[in-house]
């Protein structure tokens, strides 16, 4: 479908004002455990503009997936809750919506692509059926129209002979093809925001590049905002406009992709950038750049700067005062006491 032919909606007005599609403010998510509640996401701020591809980067357990689930309203109900903050999507605070309102939003306005393409499709139905399901549910179109739309979508995500492939079952697809199907499914109702939770992690590198390219293209063509969760800086460089780096449940740095790569301001970001092996450098020389230690456990976050125990630039003060996420002059944000004095090298 051509976005140009769409009838303007009140949403388009909001777009023109330049208000972010999604604005996560001060979000804290707590999980109930035996030992009390654990904040696995703490005071997170993320803003995503119309048509922007925003990468959220971090190690496993840094809280990036939980942030995504909180936005989708898919947190496990009994164990997790949003304890403070708000998730503003097109001016509405999603944390205040009830289940029915949330359900109307899910799939239609915010859609999600999961990490595991091998298990995120129901093996009992054809892929065409599964895409059509969402269309029928949200748009309310008939069976025939929905399957036609499914074929159209499959074609759009680059599946050859879409009409025939729509009749096939998920096990007849390869991983990369399945991820394309998942993306088609997510795009079925033309959502304003697509959350892609490590969509390329389970794929091999050539397929990764194709999927990244596909997501970029769809975002550009449709003006869909994308929250792209990954831990791979190589993918970030390919896909993102802006980047938010998370560590130990907090946002530690955010910037646009060029400046982040060129001149990271947080030592963690710099260390992550250098963890990506390069073809130009000898691996043996890189050994001293490997980051020591492991990310802290949510039960025992360091009291002050959470990265201090692993930081190569650590000073005495890092263990005493809690660093705030400070905006710098050029619209970047960083959570480091020494952000001003450090000059970190990036990668180009």
């Amino acid at each position: 479908m051509n976005p140009a032919t769409e009838v303007p909606t009140p949403l388009d007005v909001a777009r023109s004002v330049g208000e972010p599609v999604l604005e996560v403010r001060n979000l804290t998510v707590e999980f109930a455990t035996r030992g009390g509640s654990l904040a696995v996401v703490q005071n997170v701020d993320i803003a995503i503009e119309q048509g922007e591809v925003h990468a959220v980067v971090g190690e496993s357990g840094s809280g990036k997936s939980v942030t995504a689930l909180a936005i989708m309203g898919l947190l496990p109900e009994r164990t997790a809750r949003v304890s403070s903050g708000e998730i503003r999507f097109r001016g509405r605070d999603l944390t205040t919506l009830n289940r029915k309102e949330m359900r109307n939003l899910q799939g239609r306005e915010i859609a999600m692509v999961f990490q595991e393409p091998m298990t995120s499709l129901n093996p009992a139905f054809t892929v065409g059926d599964q895409i059509a399901e969402s269309v029928r549910h949200h748009v309310g179109s008939g069976r025939r129209a929905a399957s036609a739309r499914a074929i159209e979508l499959l074609d759009e995500v680059g599946i050859p002979q879409a009409a025939r492939r729509a009749e096939a079952y998920p096990h007849e697809f390869s991983g990369g093809m399945r991820q394309r199907v998942m993306i088609a499914m997510a795009l079925a109702c033309e959502p304003d925001l697509l959350i892609a939770d490590e969509p390329t992690t389970a794929l091999d590198v050539t397929i990764q590049a194709q999927i990244v390219e596909l997501i970029r293209r769809l975002s550009r063509d449709r003006g869909t905002s994308v929250m792209f969760i990954t831990h791979d800086f190589g993918v970030v460089a390919e896909v993102a406009d802006n980047v938010t780096v998370m560590y130990a449940a907090e946002v530690i740095e955010s910037a646009d992709v060029f400046r982040l790569f060129e001149s990271p301001q947080h030592p963690y970001t710099a260390a992550l950038l250098h963890a990506v092996p390069s073809l130009d450098e000898d691996l043996a020389d890189d050994d001293d750049r490997a980051m020591p230690g492991v990310p802290p456990n949510p039960t025992a976050f360091p009291p002050a700067c959470r990265f201090a125990p692993r930081c190569v630039h650590v000073v005495e003060g890092c263990h005493q005062s809690i660093p705030q996420l400070l905006s710098t002059a050029d619209g970047r944000r960083v959570r480091c006491l020494r952000a001003d004095e450090l000059t970190l090298t990036g990668r180009s």
Partner: protein, 302 residues
């Protein structure tokens, strides 16, 4: 598994029609000789039961007191006569009706009562799960026969009453099996994906959970159908199931047990029928398990 289909991302694989998955299940089942033999035998018994009135050589309750306890092959009675001179073969054929009906009733009632609570307990979890599990445990603690006798005592004897009782006994087994299967399906990514699309809970259950719970349930159904048949025979034997002169296999056993010394074969026939049916049901269950089981799941984890 002996399937030859190795699905790839290649286009030719897509030419298979929509029913491919179902058909490959049938093919896999058909390849199991034992299960197919069992299915054929059971089908013959069912056909015999359905067309009993035209297949049976004599009316099942026609007595001939001058011609009692005859051995097989005498006077046109292929399997002989019982203590009232009734044709054993005819009674066996009519008895199949009762025995099959009994197991269908019991399993049906069990599924009716047990399936939905099990599904909801597994999917919703929490308090619902807790409550359902406690009820299940309470019901499981009852010895089945005692419960059946209690129900029959209050509702009066009769095959249907007895089988409702058996169904009540089966219900917690179905519920628990359904719950366990649901628990594992619930965690599948495609269920989460379905939730992320904002589908209604009932839709998710119907389209994304139930199809994956069915295969263990079908296996369990065949096994419990066999158990129901045995219980029916047992209850009828002690006079709590089918009531004479109705000829269920259980009442035939009960009636002929006193004449074992004169005509030992009389108790062999109905007993053999029960055994054959139960074994067939179990073998079919095994066959289904082997051919459906992890069909889809196995391919996923490839």
């Amino acid at each position: 598994m002996t399937t030859v289909e190795i699905p790839t991302g290649d286009a030719p694989a897509a030419t298979r029609p929509k029913t491919a998955a179902r058909r490959s299940f049938v093919r896999r089942f058909a390849e199991q000789r034992v299960a197919m033999a069992a299915l054929t035998l059971l089908a013959l018994i069912v056909i015999a039961a359905v067309f009993a009135s035209s297949l049976a050589p004599h009316p099942p309750n026609a007595q001939n007191l001058r011609n009692i306890l005859k051995g097989p092959g005498s006077d046109g009675h292929l399997l002989g006569t019982d203590h009232l001179g009734r044709d054993v073969l005819s009674r066996l054929i009519y008895g199949a009706r009762f025995s099959l009906l009994a197991s269908v009733e019991a399993v049906g009632v069990g599924l009716l009562i047990g399936f939905l609570p099990g599904l909801l307990a597994g999917y919703i979890g929490g308090k619902v799960d807790w409550c359902v599990m406690r009820v299940i445990e309470a019901l499981m603690a009852f010895p089945p026969i005692i419960l059946a006798i209690a129900v029959v005592a209050s509702l009066g004897p009769g095959l249907t009453n007895a089988m409702i009782a058996v169904g009540v006994v089966f219900a917690p087994r179905f519920a628990r099996m359904t719950r366990d299967a649901t628990l594992s399906v619930r965690e599948e990514t495609f269920v989460e994906a379905a939730r992320s699309m904002g589908l209604r809970r009932s839709t998710i259950l119907r389209r994304h959970v139930v199809p994956h719970v069915l295969s263990p349930l079908i296996v369990m159904t065949t096994v419990l159908a066999g158990v129901a048949m045995i219980v029916e025979a047992g209850l009828s034997y002690v006079g709590l199931g089918a009531v004479p002169p109705d000829s269920s296999w259980g009442t035939m056993l009960a009636g002929s047990i006193r004449y074992t010394t004169n005509s030992p074969l009389l108790i062999v026939w109905p007993g053999l029928c029960v055994v054959v049916c139960v074994v067939c049901l179990n073998l079919i269950g095994d066959g289904i398990k082997d051919s459906v089981g992890r069909e889809a799941r196995g391919k996923i984890s490839r």
